[in-house]
Symmetry: C2
Subunit: 218 residues, 2 copies
């Protein structure tokens, strides 16, 4: 979710089969330049402004190379998302569940409201390209998995009961912000990161994310 706006390619994609290419070598530098160009073109012009020719020109890379390696706009977007997922992002450890969730939501708000916003552009692109949609789904999954440590730390501090469903808590804490910005398209609310985090913590403390006898039917 956060750090969609990652500007550097760390080239951490595992390269199976003994590569002639050195990590950090020419191929890796080409990829970094091309992906940077995709990010900039997408953020500035949106999906409709994205073309292999435009990316090749901006990156200063041969058109033939871009066509051979990435095939089409979907291939470029999928690789941008894969590169983002290969970074070393981790949620910040503030020492409290509430603090961790507030910082996470503030990062997400910042990424979504940056001008231009890579995160917002990639979400929009995911409604155009199946490859981008698949890549984005993997990236969300990766980010939420990394964020589960927030809940594990809270359990270790006895802030939350063992057995708390980390994913559900994290979705409850983060969904309102995306809902308002991406779907409802309301103006960014600077209080929302803290409000949504606090709401999730109150619900968690009241047992909303643990299986229990409170699951009465209606």
């Amino acid at each position: 979710m956060e750090r969609f706006d990652e500007q550097t390619d760390k080239a951490t994609t595992p390269e199976k089969a003994p590569p002639k290419r050195r990590p950090g070598g020419r191929t890796s530098r080409t990829r970094a330049r091309v992906l940077d160009a995709v990010r900039m073109e997408l953020a500035e012009h949106g999906y409709d402004g994205l073309s292999l020719d435009g990316v090749a020109a901006r990156a200063g890379v041969h058109r033939a190379t871009v066509y051979r390696r990435w095939r089409d706009v979907g291939g470029l977007l999928a690789d941008v998302l894969e590169a983002t997922g290969g970074d070393d992002w981790e949620p910040e450890d503030t020492g409290s569940l509430l603090g961790d969730l507030i910082v996470l939501n503030r990062e997400n708000l910042g990424a979504m409201t940056a001008q231009p916003s890579m995160a917002a552009a990639l979400i929009a692109a995911s409604f155009r390209s199946e490859e981008a949609a698949r890549g984005l789904r993997r990236l969300w999954e990766d980010r939420y998995t990394r964020c589960e440590v927030i809940v594990r730390r809270a359990v270790a501090r006895s802030e939350l009961p063992a057995g708390t469903d980390a994913r559900r808590l994290l979705v409850a804490a983060t969904a309102p912000l995306y809902h308002q910005l991406v779907l409802l398209r309301t103006p960014p609310d600077p209080d929302l990161p803290e409000q949504a985090a606090r709401t999730a913590v109150l619900a968690a403390t009241a047992g909303a994310f643990t299986p229990g006898p409170s699951a009465t039917s209606v």
Copy 2:
């Protein structure tokens, strides 16, 4: 949010200035047929399959009429959304806050997972057409405003304290479902409507949506 899938045009748009057209007359029937055709074309083929010619053919209406009245695809989508906003939808009154929110979430899940889903198609279209985005924003606003009665009833039953922020509670209750379906693109979870409703009720009961001394800073 719900009843995107409205299939009939109730022709409730106020017609100012003494109309030669009778409500329910020929113009109104033409609009109903055209909007039904837009809904079906959009749900079946998506935004890219939507054209004024295709809509005119499906509706059995002269192309010239469609071009004159709706101009372009954005105009068609905006009118579909306006017609949806003109219905008489109200949230169900189950007698409890939890019950009302569960029913609301189940309606939303049903609308989003219908095959084909008008709601999902309109959300996707809102990333393509500025007019659709504006129309959808108005529709969300209208739906959330109508849902505020759920919170007023809960306050009247003393389930919630007066001063509860209805909009924030409703967003907390409904956002996780849209987040998972539209952004995370996880498979529909039949337990989520109840879980998300219960989470919002627990948070509300714990004071998450009332201004108060709990607003300590971090």
